[in-house]
């Protein structure tokens, strides 16, 4: 089972946890990415996320398909938030359930690391004195 979602409203940890629940799995790992209040010592007011939605969905699905095959994962949910997020709000949840725990940790790490490299989602940091598209410049 793979469940991929882009959402404009708050993400639910409980929903993701329930989505991957199964009698056949012994370990579930959840990664929860939240909005931090500063970047390199500079106060962040909020983050604005946008995506090229059809491709973001298909790239997240590719990641889940690969993780499922490589780590024999039973169920994977990847939910990513869009729009304007306040400090501490959840930007992404990745839930992976596998028969044994080691694979769940590894598969979950693979999913978030790859998501950050390939999925067409962008965030803009809003500061008191300006705004910056994250990672755009060297």
């Amino acid at each position: 089972m793979i469940d991929i979602q882009l959402k404009n409203e708050a993400l639910s940890v409980e929903e993701c946890s329930e989505l991957v629940a199964s009698n056949a799995t012994g370990g579930t790992v959840l990664f929860i990415g939240t909005v931090r209040n500063q970047t390199q010592g500079k106060k962040v007011l909020r983050l604005d996320f946008e995506a090229y939605e059809p491709m973001a969905i298909s790239e997240m699905r590719k990641i889940a398909v690969e993780a499922k095959a490589r780590w024999n994962a039973e169920k994977i949910a990847i939910h990513h938030r869009l729009g304007s997020l306040q400090i501490q709000e959840i930007a992404v949840i990745i839930a992976v359930a596998t028969p044994h725990r080691k694979a769940a940790f590894e598969a979950c790490q693979f999913c978030i690391d790859t998501l950050k490299e390939t999925v067409p989602i962008w965030k803009k940091e809003i500061f008191e004195d300006g705004e910056v598209w994250v990672a755009a410049h060297p």
């Binding site: 996320f49 946008e50 490299e117 999925v119 989602i121 598209w133 410049h137």
Partner: protein
């Protein structure tokens, strides 16, 4: 031929809008499109990198573009 392109993230700021039309020669590839973009909008050269997606998939510089392709500029991604 005229290629309609769609931009996200910082690419939108660079082309000053979400859409632009780029004039290319028949048989031109993504490499040619990237050169043209850098020529018309020099700020693309300041980016860490940028990719081009065609019909919602990443494509290499050798991909030959067609007039009805959905062409999207993908500046460095920063999800998560």
């Amino acid at each position: 031929m005229k290629i309609q392109i769609l931009a996200f993230g910082i690419a939108k700021d660079i082309i000053k809008g979400q859409r632009a039309e780029i004039e290319l020669s028949e048989g031109n590839d993504i490499h040619a499109l990237k050169n043209k973009l850098c020529e018309q909008f020099p700020d693309f050269k300041k980016l860490r990198s940028f990719s081009i997606a065609v019909n919602a998939d990443y494509q290499t510089d050798q991909y030959i573009l067609n007039e009805n392709d959905e062409v999207v500029i993908i500046p460095p991604v920063s999800g998560g």
